[in-house]
């Protein structure tokens, strides 16, 4: 394992020496994943025919491709990128590689708040991500409070345990809302596991807008994020308002998680797996890490969702379950490596 990681690090250092090589590679992978995901499914269209199927309304598969598959793949791009960037931001905010919007309860809180909005104001779907953002901010405040309330340094384990506690609290809230308003709210199981089934162009607008805003804000903060990689005393010593930087990073993470949860429910582990994997290849500084994590997160979710659609066709697996199969062992490995 360690030898393999060293080999990857060595190769990636060569790639890093040529600026633009890694982004080009990651971008090409995302494009290939998107084409594959749009083409594959119950109705499959050869990749060469895709442009015509999208643009030409008389193409026999136009309706399926343009109204069902294209929005779904684009939503996966936006949500995958958003979750990966949210994970990167939260990891910087709490200076802990185990942080993830799902594991810290931020998506669960955003989800619970979003559900309340769905149930109380069914006529205003645009309100959902806004209320979800408010819920995510509550979780961020609680997490930062737990992590930095004491003056003693907080071990990674304590943060994870706090996340577990928060998560179960908000899961309970979600269960209550979905049970009481079964007629109006999405089904509990699908929402909690996370799925992209039935994604519309309206969903793409919500996920795309929040992802774009969040990523832009994160890129504006890269210097703050990089200084958060130093210990508190050193970061403050060069003039970083440490607490404000932390709150900013985590709040942008909450915004990104809120946009995702409004469309796809509680997808976990993307924010954990992607930034940690990309860091091995690209290093910890955020000017390169953020865009690459966005590209890699998008690729991962697009591929996972395509796999979820075709693996057991005509049944559709929930993509969140697939991600958990991938992410949970990785999380355990990280936990063992960082805490031991």
């Amino acid at each position: 394992m360690r030898a393999a990681a060293a080999a990857i690090a060595l190769r990636s250092r060569r790639l890093r020496a040529r600026p633009g090589a890694l982004p080009a590679l990651f971008g090409a992978l995302l494009l290939a994943a998107c084409l594959l995901a749009i083409a594959a499914g119950a109705v499959s269209v050869p990749v060469a025919e895709l442009p015509r199927a999208i643009a030409d309304a008389s193409h026999p598969q136009h309706a399926v491709i343009a109204q069902i598959r294209l929005p779904r793949v684009l939503a996966a791009v936006a949500i995958g990128a958003a979750l990966a960037v949210a994970g990167t931001l939260l990891q910087a905010a709490v200076r802990n590689p185990l942080a993830d919007p799902g594991l810290l309860g931020v998506t669960a809180a955003a989800g619970a708040a979003g559900l309340v909005a769905i149930v109380l104001f069914p006529a205003w779907p645009a309100l959902v991500p806004v209320v979800a953002f408010a819920g995510g901010l509550v979780a961020v405040a609680l997490v930062l409070g737990v992590a930095f309330a004491t003056t003693r340094p907080v071990g990674p384990l304590r943060l994870v345990l706090a996340g577990v506690a928060l998560q179960s609290l908000f899961f309970a809230a979600i269960a209550v809302v979905t049970f009481l308003f079964a007629d109006r709210a999405p089904a509990f199981a699908g929402f909690v596991v996370g799925s992209l089934a039935g994604t519309s162009w309206g969903d793409v607008a919500i996920a795309g807008t929040t992802a774009a805003i969040g990523l832009a804000l994160a890129l504006l903060c890269v210097r703050w994020l990089d200084l958060l990689l130093l210990d508190d005393a050193s970061a403050a010593g060069v003039g970083l308002p440490v607490r404000r930087a932390r709150i900013a990073a985590a709040s942008i993470g909450a915004l990104l998680a809120a946009g995702s949860v409004s469309v796809a429910g509680l997808l976990a582990f993307v924010g954990l797996v992607v930034p940690n994997a990309v860091r091995i290849a690209a290093g910890p500084t955020h000017r390169t890490l953020l865009p690459l994590a966005a590209l890699a997160g998008a690729t991962l979710l697009v591929l996972a969702d395509a796999f979820a659609r075709v693996a057991a066709a005509p049944l559709e697996l929930p993509v969140g379950a697939l991600l958990a199969v991938l992410g949970a062992p990785y999380f355990l490995w990280l936990l063992w490596k960082k805490v031991a």
Binding site: R95, D226, L230, D231, S234, A236, G237, V238, G239, L240
Partner: protein, 268 residues
């Protein structure tokens, strides 16, 4: 009399989590271009005083001024252009290169959303050269030895180009050769750049050879401050450190020879 670069005025300091004041009623002025060594036994308040001088801890009573203005009235970045501080045990996540670390010292000088200026790049280059880190600039911190890492953090503080440098035990956990190396570099920095340095040290001989003035802390109070030969003597060693010792001058250098722990009754 010129305005001191940094001036602690009757400060009482209580670190977070502490029940009582760790530093009590200490006044200390640091003037442009001088080296002040802080010495004292473990727990005498050296690190706490340095933290407060570096604006990392608000005095419970009293105030600290930088060139005549309360340090807490400066914006963080403004203050970071006047005073740089190296904490006792600085750390960063894995994967940061020496050059990236040193470049973060330019944060207080850089404008938002612009790439580093020519002055920024020159300051980083000079700081790396001053600590002979040229061959290591691309290496990541966790791959360096303890001495090299200390030099990298020192280079960060240097890249801030401040008139005052605060260093908390820069020689701790280094072998003798690397201790000597760090001290020689501090003397050079002080001479070449006219930077005032406040440094906490455990070794009294090192403090005497490096510093223009030595400030001795004892149980949170300032026991004495002045030229090394005036304040380091046998009575002080008995009172403050609780040892019977000989202090002698050899070839212009101060020698402190500890003989035995002082008589416990006298030490009280």
């Amino acid at each position: 009399m010129t305005v001191p670069m940094l001036h602690a005025q009757r400060v009482h300091l209580r670190p977070p989590g502490s029940e009582r004041d760790v530093v009590r009623d200490v006044s200390l002025a640091v003037h442009a271009g001088e080296i002040v060594a802080l010495v004292g036994p473990n727990g005498s308040g050296k690190s706490t005083l340095l933290a407060a001088l570096g604006r990392a801890l608000r005095p419970r009573l009293g105030r600290i001024e930088a060139t005549g203005t309360d340090v807490w009235r400066h914006a963080p970045r403004t203050f970071a252009r006047q005073v740089a501080r190296m904490p006792q045990d600085p750390s960063c996540v894995e994967g940061i290169s020496v050059e990236q670390l040193v470049a973060s010292g330019r944060h207080p000088h850089r404008r938002a959303l612009t790439p580093p200026s020519a002055a920024d790049r020159a300051a980083v280059r000079e700081a790396i050269a001053a600590l002979e880190l040229g061959d290591l600039r691309g290496r990541t911190l966790e791959t360096l030895s303890g001495g090299e890492r200390r030099r990298a953090w020192l280079a960060l503080a240097l890249a801030q180009e401040t008139p005052v440098l605060l260093l908390d035990e820069p020689t701790a956990a280094l072998d003798v050769r690397h201790q000597w190396d760090v001290l020689a570099r501090l003397a050079r920095i002080n001479q070449d750049r006219r930077v005032a340095i406040v440094v906490s040290l455990h070794d009294l001989e090192q403090a005497a050879s490096l510093a223009h003035r030595v400030a001795i802390l004892h149980r949170g109070r300032l026991y004495a401050a002045g030229a090394p030969e005036r304040v380091i003597d046998e009575a002080m060693l008995c009172d403050v450190f609780g040892v019977d010792a000989r202090v002698a001058k050899e070839d212009g250098r101060m020698r402190v020879q500890v003989l035995r722990p002082a008589d416990p009754v006298r030490a009280l």
